[in-house]
């Protein structure tokens, strides 16, 4: 058995152009889908406590657009947008995603929700067109990050 009690997200890099995020939730998947796609609910969780989600637009249908804006405590803003390519209620959303600070690095993101015994496993696969863009997504996609950790400082010092 794995340690399913862990509430941490798991990030892996299945291929040079991909990022995969996995996490299990103690809720049925239709509620995850609801929380993932309802603007008033997105506003409450999407910033991850790093600021305020100041704008959420969701047009949930193939060809529909989405756009989120996050205002960080330090006053900086980050905006993301994209287009829905495929929407299967409660199960799957495929969409494009671009961080407006890096407009050339558009990714295709696939959200998959699988439910077993009242628990839901969420996987989010981010597919970039190049390794360079994937790496920039990792580096800048969360540029509102707090200070570097000890190991990173050590890595920089060892340059």
């Amino acid at each position: 058995m794995t340690v399913t009690g862990s509430r941490a997200a798991v990030v892996t890099l299945p291929a040079d152009t991909q990022i995969m995020i996995t996490r299990e939730f103690g809720a049925p998947r239709h509620l995850l889908f609801l929380a993932w796609t309802t603007p008033e609910l997105i506003r409450r969780w999407w910033s991850g406590g790093r600021g305020e989600v100041t704008s959420v637009e969701v047009d949930l249908r193939p060809g529909g657009r989405w756009r989120y804006v996050l205002a960080a405590q330090d006053g900086t803003e980050a905006a993301f947008h994209g287009e829905y390519l495929e929407v299967v209620p409660d199960e799957r959303i495929v969409s494009t995603e671009v961080y407006e600070g890096l407009p050339d690095a558009e990714a295709v993101t696939t959200l998959t929700l699988t439910e077993a015994g009242g628990r839901t496993t969420l996987t989010l696969l981010v597919q970039h067109t190049s390794r360079e863009n994937r790496d920039r997504h990792l580096e800048y996609g969360d540029s509102l990050q707090e200070a570097m950790d000890l190991l990173e400082q050590a890595a920089l010092a060892a340059r």
């Binding site: 995020i21 103690g26 969360d142 990050q145 920089l156 010092a157």
Partner: protein, 116 residues
């Protein structure tokens, strides 16, 4: 199968918690293996095994200093990916933590509303 992958590159090599501890210890500067044994509370063969893995992926370098072998951190192999992935993972963990709170409320509402 998964075991082989843990040593394939720097990013995977540091997935092992003991190896992270070793790197954290070496981040303060060069150390002989005896220091690491004492710090980690592991037997020397185990520490040596982890050090060997870390050397193979280039994260740790070694030099002889008299009778001692001194180990030091080489952060370069980590820089391109590892720090970003950790930061990215932490940011998603926080986001999902907030999502848990929203889901708890939705579950409560689901129960309250029944079929009404």
């Amino acid at each position: 199968m998964a075991r082989a992958a843990t040593t394939a590159d720097a990013f995977n090599a540091v997935a092992e918690p003991r190896r992270r501890q070793i790197l954290d210890a070496l981040s303060g500067g060069e150390r002989p293996v005896n220091d690491l044994v004492a710090l980690l509370g592991l037997a020397q063969p185990q520490v040596s095994k982890h050090l060997r893995v870390l050397r193979e992926v280039g994260l740790v370098e070694v030099r002889g200093d008299g009778r001692q072998r001194m180990y030091r951190l080489n952060g370069r192999p980590l820089r391109p990916i590892y720090d970003w992935v950790r930061a990215y993972e932490q940011s998603w963990s926080r986001r999902f933590g907030e999502l848990d709170a929203v889901l708890a409320e939705l579950m409560e509402a689901d129960g309250d509303d029944g079929d009404g």
